[in-house]
């Protein structure tokens, strides 16, 4: 019996709530109170700074951002400064690395996430690829999905942000991932119209299942971690 991976859609929730949720999900996973899962989400505009982050990646006036309610939140993932906002599909896989075909291999895990995104975009006729050494998924010189991951007790947290239909002008607030010469794009800019979120999520689930060789099961509602953890 191949253990399935549960896929939940948390909907649009504040970044801080998702962060807190992820940390609880990791504890629940570590104590075997929950199974491997992928949580999809969407956030209000927010900037997060990974462990490799630097304030020089910020271009916008912090006071202006503060006035718009845009927080800058330091987080435990790898990578530099990243923007999250409406129109992105965020995926947070919370799973035991040892349960994946590549096992406890951090770089393979990153490449797998890229592969999931590349395969999904390919389904829409978008020829996306890698741009070593810049982790993420690119279409030409423009980044369409950002990746940043943390691992705690060999369980993954954080994940990727796929630009489906975000307000691309918000990316002017930062040098995404600290890169100054490269731009960002979205599925909407590439296709002319934005595909429905539910459809993109379904295709991402299929891509995860294909790449990891495990069923990815869509679960209704939100998981009840506090109950699981009690």
């Amino acid at each position: 019996m191949i253990p399935p991976i549960a896929a939940y859609d948390l909907g649009r929730i504040p970044y801080r709530e998702a962060l807190e949720f992820q940390r609880r999900a990791v504890s629940a996973r570590a104590s075997a109170a929950s199974t491997d899962a992928i949580y999809f989400a969407e956030h209000e505009p927010v900037l997060t700074v990974g462990r490799a982050g630097s304030a020089s990646s910020l271009r916008a006036n912090p006071a202006l951002l503060a006035a718009r309610g845009v927080e800058i939140i330091p987080v435990e993932r790898g990578g530099d400064m990243t923007y999250h906002g409406p129109g992105q599909i965020i995926a947070y896989p919370i799973l035991e690395l040892s349960g994946l075909p590549s096992g406890r291999d951090l770089h393979r895990y990153l490449r797998d996430l890229e592969e999931v995104l590349i395969g999904t975009l390919d389904g829409y006729g978008i020829r996306a690829g890698r741009r070593a050494p810049h982790t993420g998924v690119w279409v030409g010189d423009r980044k369409v999905a950002a990746i940043g991951v943390a691992v705690r007790r060999w369980i993954t947290l954080h994940g990727f942000a796929l630009n489906v239909d975000p307000d691309l002008s918000h990316f002017d607030w930062i040098h995404p991932c600290g890169l100054r010469d490269l731009g960002v794009t979205s599925m909407r800019s590439l296709l002319g119209t934005a595909p429905p979120r539910a459809e993109v999520q379904a295709r991402l689930r299929e891509a995860f299942a294909r790449i990891w060789g495990r069923p990815v099961v869509e679960m209704p509602g939100r998981p009840h971690l506090e109950e699981l953890h009690a």
Binding site: M1, P3, P4, A6, A33, S34, T35, A37, V49, G50, R51, A52, G53, S54, A55, S56, N61, P62, A63, L64, A66, A67, R68, I72, P74, E76, R77, G78, G79, S102, R104, D105, L106, H107, R108, Y109, L110, P133, T135, G136, I147, G148, V149, A150, V151, R152, R153, V217, M219, P220, G221, R222, P223, H224, L225, E226, E227, L228, A230
Partner: protein, 446 residues
């Protein structure tokens, strides 16, 4: 002997990582498996768990420094142990040949502090040398003096976050006068974006007379919200219809009474009526496959050739339906055993994802709490649910005489979109027949 913390194997292509952040300071107590230090490689940041319990005796590799896989990061002392004086030097990191030392200003490639005391002295004398290369780069970029920044790191050392928040603070301070004063009417402020208009309240049902009569308002738990969502979805999606019948359980009551003690003594399993009901249902489902099917929104009907029977379990935190997989391929005893296990794990919140998914038909026992009839809601997208109820002695007519029999009401709710009334009634009748004469089919049961 102190336990060495080393950079573990992090993957085939990972030969080194940067020490991102020490989550513990020298002298901090440490529990086994507690995260103690972060290593960054590519866009992954991994927290390394402590290999043993004790106190963090020494940090060999400071933050911001590259460490090779297998290299010592630090040491953990067991209770009552202290850092050996002599052995420390040889454990100090050698600068990796592939990695040029990123700190040309430093007089030596950061030898490991041999004792905590030495480390403190060093810090006080050479503040500049104690910041990581990343921090130094940041300081240079912003032309900042490290002495003017308050450090929150080990021994007051300035970390990247400290520099970031320092920069953040000064930017906010510099531009503060131009920010709209708080308390100003949102419509009149020359805000960079249109201020959000307050939403007009939509008239809706009143949920209570808050304030005038005593009410307790609590936030529904996520379990409750999920149950609500599932129930409502089932009600929206399926065309619910129920039919019921009276089952004479007298023979089964007698059979169970005969088996109960023996099975408990021999196998340690409590035999309830549920295993018999599950096996009878599976037989009937085999004959009426539309009740073991699902209909998609696009109109496909999936007839399941496997029999995964959900059994609703009451918990104080809310209803849950663990699934007994492949009930047709298990013996009555296995079914009994598994039902008991699923029930106890459900009540202890120990169910795994696999235990609650893949159901093809559900049985709910409202009789456990005394109900004699009910109209259960389908566990959508399944097409049927069987309600079993209290078994009680009732007067019934047999051969023109009133006799006392053990009777139970049996209800099936079905999705009338794909199950017509006739097969639903026939299915229920078949279950009734099987339960009324268990010996007839138990002999050839798997």
């Amino acid at each position: 002997m102190p336990v060495t913390i080393v950079v573990p194997q992090l993957g085939e292509s990972v030969v080194e990582g940067t020490v991102g952040k020490w989550l513990k300071k020298e002298g901090d107590p440490i529990a086994k498996d507690e995260p103690i230090v972060e290593i960054i490689t590519d866009k992954i940041n991994i927290e390394l768990p402590a290999p043993s319990a004790g106190t963090l005796g020494r940090i060999t590799i400071p933050e911001g420094t590259v460490a090779q896989v297998g290299q010592e990061l630090g040491q953990i002392l067991a209770q009552g142990e202290s850092m050996p004086q002599g052995g420390a030097k040889q454990a100090a990191p050698k600068p990796a040949p592939s990695q040029p030392d990123p700190r040309p200003a430093a007089p030596s490639p950061s030898p490991a502090p041999e004792r905590a005391g030495t480390a403190v002295a060093e810090r006080m004398n050479g503040e500049e040398q104690r910041v990581s290369p990343a921090v130094r780069k940041l300081l240079r970029e912003h032309n900042l003096d490290v002495a003017r920044i308050r450090g929150s790191g080990m021994g007051g050392r300035v970390t990247r976050e400290d520099v970031l928040s320092h920069i953040e603070g000064s930017r906010v301070a510099a531009s503060a006068p131009s920010a709209p004063p708080s308390g100003q009417a949102p419509g009149r402020a020359p805000a960079p974006q249109a201020a959000p208009q307050p939403l007009k309240p939509i008239p809706g049902p009143s949920f209570g007379q808050t304030g005038s009569r005593e009410e307790e308002v609590v936030q529904a738990t996520n379990v409750r919200k999920k149950i609500a969502e599932n129930m409502l979805r089932a009600r929206h999606m399926a065309a619910h219809c129920s039919t019921w019948d009276e089952v004479d359980m007298t023979a089964l009551v007698a059979l169970r009474a005969r088996l109960k003690e023996k099975v408990k003594a021999t196998y340690g399993v409590n035999v309830t009526y549920m295993p018999f009901i599950v096996k009878a249902v599976v037989r009937a489902l085999h004959e009426y496959p539309m009740l073991n099917a699902s209909m998609t929104e696009s109109g496909e009907i999936h007839y399941k050739k496997y029999y995964n029977i959900g059994i609703a379990v009451h918990r104080d935190s809310g209803l849950i339906v663990p699934v007994l997989h492949d009930a047709d391929r298990k013996t009555l005893l296995q079914v009994a055993q598994e039902i008991e296990d699923l029930g106890s794990r459900a009540r202890a919140d120990k169910l795994q994802l696999n235990d609650i998914q893949g159901g093809t038909f559900t049985i709910t026992n409202a009789g456990m709490f005394g109900a004699t009839a009910s109209t259960p809601i389908i566990n959508y997208p399944e097409s049927g649910v069987l309600g079993v109820h209290l078994i009680q002695e009732r007067p019934v007519v047999r051969d023109h005489r009133i006799v006392i029999r053990n009777m139970m009401t049996l209800v099936v709710s079905f999705d009338h979109r794909l199950v017509d009334g006739t097969p639903a009634v026939q299915f229920l009748h078949r279950v009734k027949e099987l339960l009324e004469d268990p010996e007839s089919w138990l002999l050839d049961s798997i």
